[in-house]
Amino acid sequence: MALLVQGEIVSHMERAPGVFMVEFIAPNLATVARPGQFLHIRCSEGNDPLLRRPISIHAVDRDRGRVGILFQVVGRGTALLARRKDGVIDVMGPLGRGFSTGSHNLMRAGSIAVVGGGIGAAPLFFLLQELARCGDPARVKVLLGARSANQILIKEEIENLGYTMELATDDGSVGHRGQVTELLLKLLPEGVSYVYACGPAPMLKAVCAFLSEAGIPGEVSLEERMACGVGACLSCACQVKAAGGGVHYRRACVDGPVFPAGEVVW
């Protein structure tokens, strides 16, 4: 059940060049939100740009009734959103099927890998908050990748939750020089039993291929363009494997955005 919220903005920060973190007050939303779910956010007050923009729930502070988003400016909608420093933000949510953080995942023997590429780190922080609350951070390995050191997001916050992490950058300015997926490939044989990933499509494609080869389960969060965000318009179709063989379209907004890694058709 999604809510329509006019949340009062309580903090606004540019966390990396062109990447903004906004926190707003929404106690009911904070209570019901699950990691991997997203918000559908209105960026303009008028009719242009018209549609809402899907943005993941980045962090939740249930005690203070606050919800945070972390987003990168890539076009008009996100640019308008970045300019809104106070007042209210018009959000619909929580929407979609998020990461499964049930005990069946946390009880598995072995470790859990959480892999983020670029702005894909955004929803993973909420996931890590939840895993820290009901699991053991020592069993979780966080792998983050970005173009360059100044685009590595929320490193300190993740460390503060008690996680260890490894970094990869395209230019080698911090951590491994290369792709974050190379870190994952190295880690997989070391007893990884479950993987959560979010990032650009080529990265997720590689993650799914590695997991399938290694026979390790996991889940990935996909991005599709969305209009309604609630399953009504069929705009956000993505191809997944059907139960009885073959492929069919599912709606990223309600059947996802998180899908089992083995089901996604690339």
Binding site: D48, L50, C228, V230, G231, V254
Partner: protein, 305 residues
Amino acid sequence: MINTTVNLGGIKMKNPVATASGTFGFGLEYQQFIQLEKLGAIIVKGTTPAPRQGNPPPRIAETPAGMLNAIGLQNPGVNKVAGEIIPRLVHLNTPVIINIAGDTVEDYALVANKLDGVPGVAGLEINISCPNVKKGGIQFGSDPRSAAEVTRAVKAATKLPVIVKLSPNVTDLVAMAAAVAEAGADALSMINTLLGMAIDVDRRKPVLGNITGGLSGPAVRPVAVRAVWQVYRAVKLPILGMGGIMTTRDALEFILAGATAVAVGTANFVNPRATIEIIEGIENYLREQGFNNINQLTGLAHAGI
């Protein structure tokens, strides 16, 4: 007491606001935001004889004050719609209108026939104007003789009220309206989306997987109001007006141009409560302007012209 009830070709609506086909799923998706019972009518997604997968993504692109869509009539097929989906809506005290589509005249007649007598179906809206499928759809919507043929076949296949949905992508909309009126349509709905296209300049490729798509949203409103205005003057059938309605005032434009009722489409994506706000807004307008019956407004802008 203000009377907001309207009669759309035999479909009785408690207020003049419906949801536009394809933008409201089967209604159930929006129950979390509004009471479906408050709506004048619910028009559900285009239904075809067999299930359809729809077009490859990306299926939408945003354009100035509007959007292009090329969903491609993805739907579970008439058997599933009649057997599994309509039963979930049957308890509603709101008419449910099924939008139907096909590749051939026989397809339309078949779907119409299968829906005839299904409890919970108040009427059919024939989509002869979908710009996003290869065959059928728009083809019937651009030739008055084919449009009349589909209309006659559907009328013969069902006792339900039949609304024919017209495409704006034609040279002479009035001729189309006259042809389907002559063939027995009970009401007209207009407009479906305008054929359009967008190109991604960075990738140097069309944005949509289907290359072209249908334009909707505020950008098309003037075209839609004009369509209702012209058809109202020429054809004596009730009109369901739509195209870019976001607010009460937008809806009133259509009614004043000649629409008996209106449908809200793209606006649902932006504001899931748009329909309810418009229903309340129309009532307030009537009260404030001293009218006691919504039907007094239909076509009022034509007075003296």
